[in-house]
């Protein structure tokens, strides 16, 4: 069974342009054996894209192919039945009147009955559902229902596995278990896997590549860690949870130090070398939360003192073991935001109205292309 899937080498390519009923301008690829996470807020069009790949929704124009076979272009629209994708909808779409076993063999009606049973049982066993074959979906837990849905999707030897928010409907402990199971399953599947999620951590944990999508536009594709560190624009930065976005101006480049100097209010910051940006150019730049270092922890590091800023704590909110800070930087209107452990906040005696100094790690500063 595993070999059957292993021989099905197929890459997915998709380009969609549509203006209605919802605008979608998407461009994505997923190699066989890779897991692509489609990440975006609710209503961004990611589930619609998944439905288009499955053939359940027809785009206005574009191109979808998988394993060299054209599934959709301007002359051709293959039905879901012809595409045979392994689709796991957000609420799993299990047939409530059928047992787990009947669900798992629901897509195998083209095979002889004995073969249907054999395959369905194999997949249920592989998804750790031994002994639950005769249970109806309403008699299974959320995690078990998801496993049945995955078994059903994979039993039919699909050319692609499509998962729509697969972990949104289960509790956190089940979710952790399912993460490991999906990561393990991925190693044995040599087909593209596309997972829709709004959770960046899921993408970081499980995905080989990630595509950001917002308002129906794919913004950026790449390795999750790269996108998190270097979002391509402000929208992408906000999607990956970056909150510290500022205006700046390029002052000069220092090839020897491999550094670009950036004016930030009345301050000068060192940032990664970007010689393509002309001095005097206005830019927008961003720094992730973990690039904002407080003196106590950064003292031990070799830190460029130029990136040290005096700040005043304007707001402080304690949430469990975490303290959320909003800080005012002299000559800068936008606040600097950071979440720090409660222990550190206590150590630094932080309180609203109090001044402290922070260091913005030069290597974490990311400048977007010129600000217009």
């Amino acid at each position: 069974m595993e070999e059957g899937i292993a021989t099905l080498k197929s890459d997915l390519r998709l380009q969609i342009q549509q203006t209605s009923p919802i605008p979608l301008f998407a461009d994505l690829e997923c190699a066989a054996g890779h897991l692509l996470a489609l990440v975006g807020p609710s209503g961004s069009g990611k589930s619609t894209l998944l439905r288009m790949i499955a053939g359940l929704s027809r785009p206005q124009s574009g191109h979808i192919s998988c394993g060299g076979q054209v599934w959709f272009d301007n002359n051709n629209h293959m039905t879901p039945q012809q595409r045979r994708t392994g689709y796991v909808p957000q609420h799993y779409g299990l047939f409530p009147h059928m047992s787990a076993l009947e669900n798992a063999k629901a897509g195998l009606h083209h095979l002889a009955n004995s073969e249907q049973l054999k395959r369905a049982r194999e997949w249920l066993a592989r998804m750790h559902l031994d002994g639950l074959q005769q249970r109806k979906p309403s008699e299974l837990s959320g995690g078990q229902q998801q496993r049945v849905a995955v078994a059903r999707a994979l039993a039919g030897d699909p050319s692609i596995l499509l998962l729509d928010e697969p972990f949104s409907a289960v509790d956190s402990s089940t979710r952790e278990k399912l993460y490991s199971e999906l990561a393990e399953l991925k190693h044995h599947l040599h087909i593209p896997i596309i997972m829709v999620t709004h959770d960046l951590n899921e993408a970081l944990l499980l995905a080989d590549r990630m595509t950001l999508i917002n308002h129906g536009h794919t913004l950026q594709s790449g390795v999750p860690r790269d996108i998190m560190a270097h979002p391509c624009n402000e929208a992408a930065a906000q999607l990956v949870g970056m909150r510290n976005l500022f205006d700046g101006e390029i002052i000069e480049h220092d090839a020897e130090q491999s550094s670009t100097r950036l004016r930030f209010g009345a301050h000068v910051l060192d940032s990664p070398y970007r010689p393509e940006l002309r001095p005097g150019t206005s830019v927008r730049w961003v720094i992730p939360d973990n690039g904002v270092r407080f003196r106590a922890i950064s003292r031990a590091e070799s830190v460029n003192s130029r990136n040290r800023l005096e700040v005043m704590v304007s707001r402080l909110l304690t949430l469990g073991d975490e303290v959320r800070l909003s800080m005012k930087i002299d000559s800068v209107s936008a606040p600097l935001l950071a979440n720090i452990p409660l222990r550190l906040a206590t150590e630094l005696n932080l309180a609203a109205g109090q001044c402290t100094s922070v260091v913005l790690r030069a290597e974490d500063i990311h400048i977007f292309a010129s600000h217009e």
Binding site: Q81, H91, P96
Partner: protein, 226 residues
């Protein structure tokens, strides 16, 4: 006790279900899954028999199917008999007035099937037919049953339209409801009372049976909580 009238009513009820339910099933499924601009108007048209007085529906059927009309004339020409004051005319009238009773419960039942389930069926490679038979019908079954029971019970109790289109010809168009009216007119309260009681017991039994079956299927096929 007018056994002929009861038998005629039962015949009319069963034939109405037989002819109406399959057509209404596909219509209801189509209406449940499709969104189009004229949908509210079409739904309103199909629901008209619910709100219009039966005599109005009967009047228009008489006008359209009567031998003076082109339709009635054409039918008379080809079949050699008129539709009005004939069992076939009664059946057509019964089919038309029962459309909302047949379509609406089934439409609601199909609408209640989550999109995820229909999508999963398509991605499992099921054709529209296979999905209908193996997934949708087992889930929409309580709605189909309700449609059948409502149409049947309504046919048995229909009075105004039957009287307008069929009159009261014994063995041909005199249904049990008409017969009860006739008996009361003739001051034969014993016969009217007997027939009324039979109709009452029959209606209660069939509704109880339908509710029981519906609940049974509902419990067996409840959607999982996730």
């Amino acid at each position: 006790m007018d056994w002929t009238a009861l038998w005629l009513s039962l015949q009319l009820g069963f034939m109405t279900i037989l002819l109406l339910i399959s057509a209404a099933l596909f219509g209801a499924r189509w209406l449940a899954y499709r969104q189009f601009s004229g949908k509210p108007l079409l739904e309103a048209l199909l629901a008209v028999p619910l709100v219009l007085p039966p005599t109005v529906v009967g009047y228009y059927l008489l006008v359209v199917l009567g031998t003076q009309s082109p339709v009635g004339h054409w039918i008379m020409h080809w079949t050699g008999q008129p539709l009005v004051f004939h069992f076939s005319g009664l059946l057509i009238a019964s089919l038309i007035v029962n459309i909302p009773f047949a379509v609406q419960p089934m439409q609601r039942a199909f609408e209640a099937i989550p999109q995820d389930i229909r999508d999963a069926a398509a991605c499992c490679g099921m054709s529209s037919w296979r999905a209908l038979l193996t997934v949708e019908l087992p889930l929409a079954w309580p709605g189909v049953l309700t449609a059948m029971v409502l149409s049947f019970a309504h046919t048995l109790g229909e009075f105004g339209v039957v009287l307008m289109v069929g009159g009261s010809l014994p063995g041909e168009t005199r249904t049990i409801a008409i017969s009860i009216y006739d008996r009361v007119q003739a001051l034969d309260f014993d016969a009217a009372g007997q027939m009324s009681l039979i109709l009452l017991v029959f209606s209660i039994s069939i509704l109880a049976l339908a509710n029981g079956l519906s609940g049974h299927f509902g419990r067996r096929h409840r959607y999982p909580e996730i």
